[in-house]
Symmetry: C2
Subunit: 139 residues, 2 copies
Amino acid sequence: MLGPSMNLDFSKLDGLVAAVIQDGSTGRVLMVGFMNDEAFRRTVNTGDVTFFSRSRNKLWVKGETSGHRLKVREIHTDCDRDAVLIKVDALGPGVCHEGYASCFFRKLDNGEWVENERRAFDPEAVYTTAPGKSEAGRK
Amino acid sequence: MLGPSMNLDFSKLDGLVAAVIQDGSTGRVLMVGFMNDEAFRRTVNTGDVTFFSRSRNKLWVKGETSGHRLKVREIHTDCDRDAVLIKVDALGPGVCHEGYASCFFRKLDNGEWVENERRAFDPEAVYTTAPGKSEAGRK
């Protein structure tokens, strides 16, 4: 459980902190999400990374639809306590709803964003066979 | 130069995107900052990571006071183009204004944030001998 004085500073982003997700084995940065206080506490207490969706205005457990959950290894915060870095074991072939291992699959190359890796899975297959599927709610 | 159609989505954070800074050699996540369109373009065009300071409401070149600049190696963006991942060569012993190699020097341990590394430099020495020093403006 999280101690009462161990709170983060949610004031700078209207109740949210940025959460950087890093693969605990490879060191690869997988995605960036946002957490409100409840999402952060659930992440700590359940061991499953849980974000606050700004577009849907609700909590979402990453992987609850796809099965590609993010299991917490370590949680760090920064000097200002307004961001967290979470090292995880990523279940499944990738975290990105577009089918890539990392959401950061595009690299800037001479002024253009180019894909610099291949898809790790077929997002249509993953998200259309799972219960609770929806285009807007890929998780 | 950045092509005109290669823009990021600045709409979700009132004109900003989150920028994750990762050491290009070690893979360590060093800090998270925010960029507006101009900060991002300056980062691309100068090769020095440039943020937008929310507290001071202006651009700041990371390391302009301390000398601890972040030299761009690679820039990635994510599926939604609302965050960037920048791999850098970090000049100097650390990026954190509190004297640590990474701003993420605290780790959650049984519900408490504990420092899990030693300071890499003395922030008083770095920031009080540099021109343009100020407590609020440590860069």
